[in-house]
Symmetry: C2
Subunit: 676 residues, 2 copies
């Protein structure tokens, strides 16, 4: 058979790149979207790297801030079965990137074989091969000290072979560990492969991962339900909110409220003259998304509130609802941003047969979409310029995904510390897509997950499913739109259990107060989830000093959250076996197991429930028969537990919840109170 | 806030494409590699397609033969939760492609809302909107009959509105189903999205999915262990191989065998003058990979054998082992295809401290890799030109992956009916990569999976893991290199059990005979897996008429395989609960459940084992208390089973295996023999 030497294989540029890189993790949709982390995190990256044959493969993790020219580099370590791992620390917020490089390493392959050679002739021949490889490494090390060292080593190796040294002497020299490491630092990358995918990574500030939200209607801040609240009134609430341990104070839209087709109390269609309307019906002739409702105060008042909130360790989050009341300025200034009906009128929101004639949705298929996108992003820009850094976005799933991807990326270029919460209560794929295109946090189905099985399945999916790399749940037991059936009928034990579940299952949680802590459970209609006399349509009076308020209980929950790193992260959640379906139990742990919190919640609001809780002590780095202390931050009790099975009993009328910090290696048992 | 109309958003070409396509399945590494199917298969494709808001999304599956200009198109049907499905039939072998297109459909969205409208005014306005949309569909339908129909419909709709028709009449006309379907056939694709990934699909002939291999050393075909076998002698074996039901007859390399450093019997280093050497030491001065060993016959003899084999329904598969004996012509003609040692000699194969001085490996980092690749692919081309269509490739994992990807694609352009079996017994990622780059079938770890747990885990992974789309297992209970410990000590029951497991767990299986059917269990060394007096190094005498031969048992297995479509596919495997760890039970089913085979194997070669087998009858489309017949093709027995739990007992000394065809809806019970 003759080979035609004039022909070269078509379509293969370099056939000698033998190494393969597969399955780089973490990655979202093969690198199409960014993985999310927060500043200070260690990003652990794994990949499959291998080649044909028995040669030794080496690989590196490459990472950089987006826009940086050079990569930082870290060698990856073999985990076995062709899996490799390395990590890097992200010390600042913004856009980062990483990828993986691998190659078949001639020097390491030589070294691996040389170590195993037992025949003098072979060792002599191989030593000369090694000397050559070391000389090449010296050349790659340029004119450095390492180059000099390697060159000397190479020559020495040739010399001992020529001097007929003994096998052991040649091998000892060739396998010199220190110099071997120097040679390995200057690998031959001629046939290296770099994963063509540059994996994007969004690094946010810590609050994106760990936050406690308090939603509050400024209109009710005066407290008596009669006078319209102002930003100045809101300042009086700051110590209260701080005392409960919240760090985000979120306001429904603060803009002028449409007058045309304004809704009355309890969502009626006939408002009275003094009805305040829904804050989500944004805009009137006085202004739109960049204006402030007169009754609340001025921009200066708002800025003073931001400042005072900051002094209380609280950030103010605004609600951005991209929809317009019929009298919003955009309706006349930009009629082309809205759909027209066949009769020429602007299309109001509808989901036939339901009509929402007080709301005009924006048309994301408008011919003037570029102008509209700039107008919309301008709203965020305006409020970011006023100092707002957290936005809760209303119904983002009714606006086009490409807009969000573009807008969030654009805004983060100027304000990398912006946090966006997606309020999309819709189908799973849609919610996940919004998280992928950039939202920092997402509302969840938590409000409707009540049973042990529902909660276990859902939070296992959230903490361990593919979404864990980009979907940060923010769990709410209630919102102004959602008074779940469980809260309508479950009484105080259910209010306690639900907020405790939210605060411990999710690193980000929030609630709509003071309705929550004051146990507001009255629904507008049997079977519905709307609040009676909802603040969405009217002012409310709230007596925050009421004796039955859950404010102290909530404060305790937030204190535990702040004191336990395990509760500040959605990873590290493990559900525990407990032999009672009305009791749910789970552990949250930090990766290094330095902080372990065990929660047990009684889901039955009527009866005492008891059971035996099973812990996998060896997985927690403990002995199976070890004793340890469990400190319940809710009751203040200290339990001394022993071994893997321990008894738990919760009376819902006292407290339906244990949030227990595991304390290992107690020094002296007599130091503790026992309540077993 | 003013919007600067001169600025347009940067980096977004068309912001109105609101639809999203995600998670297209099947796909291998996001479309980097081809999914595998065989001609006649129905390819089921699913994708997540969705958009913002409540508009109706529509999507299509697009497919074509590679190189075709136009796509075939099939609408995808919604499965719920934004998942869509469609399928197409691949009626010919070769390279195919598919992708998904989706869009927000204005006409379907309009129709969805129109159906729900209850207000006359709304219906009138909406009817006019619909008329406009239908008119646009008519324009897209060009000057067809459908265009005329749609135009007329549109006008009629305007007319009834103008004529003040009743709500019901307007709605009935607007919702006309037949004309609606016509309109939907001409969708507005202005803002459609087509997945930028074109998913490749390799369609092979059926034998790639379903084949029975018999490996045979032609050198022993004479039968007496003294005279060297010839291709003419091999012809005499064809009826025997056919009777056992095999359709692939695979020969170790048939090329001239190196004389330099030839190995003697039992792999010794000192051959006698009449030692025949290893067929895998390819090449001598008489010729290399495109030559035939003189002792076997001529090319004409080989071609006659191919023809005669074909007449027996048997294809001959050749073994391509890309390595050279020291006297292979390539060593002198192309010394640059081999690595040199530091002393200038050519590097023999080694895995220090082991040396294989009779073998020179090729250097895939050779500077002349293009010429070498052409030389290697030329070997396949040469034998394909002689009529060979199945190649078993020896140790493909010691040759570069890019070579295989290029070579297999190139060869399939000329011979799309080529089948390649990868003989890579190595780490999982490496084996999978070879399957991804194009090998039709792969050897497996089956030979070393013995226990119920091992077999269950491994075949669950093979049939349901991600590899199911590209990795076709070919299960072998033995090979000339592998006489597993189980066969060395398990006796006849183990020989029966292991071949039955291979033949029923895997659609592709093979064995090395006559060593297998003649129960050769003598190992060269205690603890090793090499055969004593291996045919790899010497001729053997085989008495195929021996009374204890398993030939009839194997013939029965192959008959069952041919009669039951469920056994011809690796999908549709489900392990069944049986309350005895020495019994393994599994069902194989066709997708339409028209063929159901239940296998039970006694893994204990010494004792009778019994147990209760659990079937999920409702999953098989049956009633929980139904009676049905199980026909055991091995024993010929008919069992009448009842309900979900039935008793099974297997005596290894009679038959350690049931391979039972489930026969439902028996007409008259008295037609059956009962052996319960």
């Amino acid at each position: 058979m003759s080979v035609d030497k004039t022909v070269t294989p078509i379509g293969v540029r370099e056939g000698r790149v033998r190494v393969v890189i597969e399955s780089v993790e973490p990655s979202v949709d093969g690198g199409r979207f960014a993985v999310k982390r927060v500043a200070g995190d260690t990003v652990v990256v794994e990949a499959d790297c291998f080649a044909d044959g028995h040669d030794v493969v080496a690989c590196q993790l490459l990472w950089r801030r987006e826009g940086a020219k050079a990569w930082d580099i870290e060698p990856m370590l073999a985990l076995g079965n062709d899996r490799w791992r390395a990590s890097f620390r992200v010390d600042s917020i913004g856009a980062w990137q990483y990828t993986v490089r691998a190659w078949v390493d001639p020097f390491l392959s030589w070294r691996h074989d040389f170590e195993r050679r037992i025949d003098l002739d072979d060792v002599r021949v191989a030593a000369l091969t090694g000397a050559k490889l070391i000389e090449q490494a010296a050349a790659r090390a340029a004119a450095s000290e390492e180059s000099t060292l390697l060159l000397a080593w190479s020559r020495e190796l040739v010399k001992v072979v020529k001097a007929d040294a003994a096998l052991e002497a040649i091998k000892r020299l060739g396998l010199d560990e220190a110099r071997g490491l120097v040679a390995a630092r200057h690998p031959d990358l001629s046939y290296a492969q770099t994963d063509p995918v540059i994996y994007p990574l969004t690094v946010e500030r810590e609050r994106a991962r760990f936050s406690s939200w308090y939603e509050f209607f400024p209109r009710s801040a005066a407290g008596d339900g009669k006078r319209h609240g102002t930003f100045a009134d809101c300042e009086d609430w700051l110590p209260y909110v701080q005392r409960m341990g919240f760090d985000v104070l979120y306001f429904p839209p603060i803009h002028p409220i449409g007058r045309q087709r304004r809704k009355g109390k309890n969502n009626t269609l006939e408002p009275t003259a003094d009805d305040v309307g829904s804050p989500w019906a944004v805009g009137t002739t006085e202004g739109g998304h960049d204006a402030i409702l007169n009754e609340l105060g001025t921009l200066a008042d708002f800025q003073r509130l931001l400042k005072r909130a900051g002094e209380h360790g609280i950030e103010v989050a605004l609600d951005i609802a991209f929809q317009c009341a019929p009298d919003h300025p955009w309706v006349t200034e930009h009629p082309e941003w809205f759909k027209k009906r066949a009769d020429g009128s602007i299309q109001y929101a509808e989901n036939p047969p339901k009509k929402y004639q007080d709301i005009y949705p924006l048309d994301f298929e408008s011919g003037q979409w570029p102008e509209m996108w700039l107008g919309l992003v301008g709203v965020f820009e305006y409020w970011a310029e006023q100092g707002v850094r957290i936005f809760r976005v209303d119904n983002p799933h009714t606006k086009a995904f490409p807009f969000w991807e573009w807008a969030i990326a654009r805004l983060r270029k100027t304000w990398p510390d912006l946090i966006f919460l997606s309020e999309a209560f819709t189908r799973p794929r849609v919610m996940h897509r919004l998280a992928k295109v950039g939202f920092s946090q997402s509302y969840t189905y938590f409000s409707w997950r009540n049973t042990k099985q529902e909660l276990t399945e859902y939070f296992t999916e959230l903490s361990q499913g593919p979404g864990r790399e980009y979907f940060r749940p923010n769990a709410w037991p209630n919102t102004p739109d959602i008074l779940p059936q469980a809260l309508q009928y479950g009484g105080r034990p259910t209010f306690m259990a639900r907020v405790a579940l939210a605060a411990t299952l999710a690193a980000n949680f929030g609630l709509y107060g003071p309705a929550y802590e004051l146990l507001d459970h009255r629904a507008l209609r049997e079977g519905g989830e709307e609040y009676l006399d909802s603040e969405k349509f009217q002012l409310r009076a709230w007596d925050r000093e009421r004796g039955d308020s859950l404010a102290d209980f909530i404060a305790t929950l937030n204190t535990v959250r702040h004191e336990n790193a395990a509760l500040q992260n959605d990873a590290g959640l493990h559900f525990l076996d407990i032999d009672n379906d009305e009791l749910i139990a789970y552990a949250k742990v930090t990766p290094d197991l330095s902080n372990i919190v065990v929660c047990v919640v009684n889901l039955d609001s009527h009866n005492v429930q008891s059971g035996w809780l099973q812990l996998d002590l060896s997985a927690l780095g403990m002995e199976p028969l070890q004793s340890y202390q469990m400190y319940d931050a809710i009751s203040g009790a200290h339990f001394l537990w022993h071994g893997e099975r321990n008894f738990v009993s919760l009376d819902p009328h006292r407290s339906p919840v244990h949030v227990m910090q595991m304390r290992r290696h107690p020094k002296r048992e007599q130091d503790f109170d026992y309540f077993v």
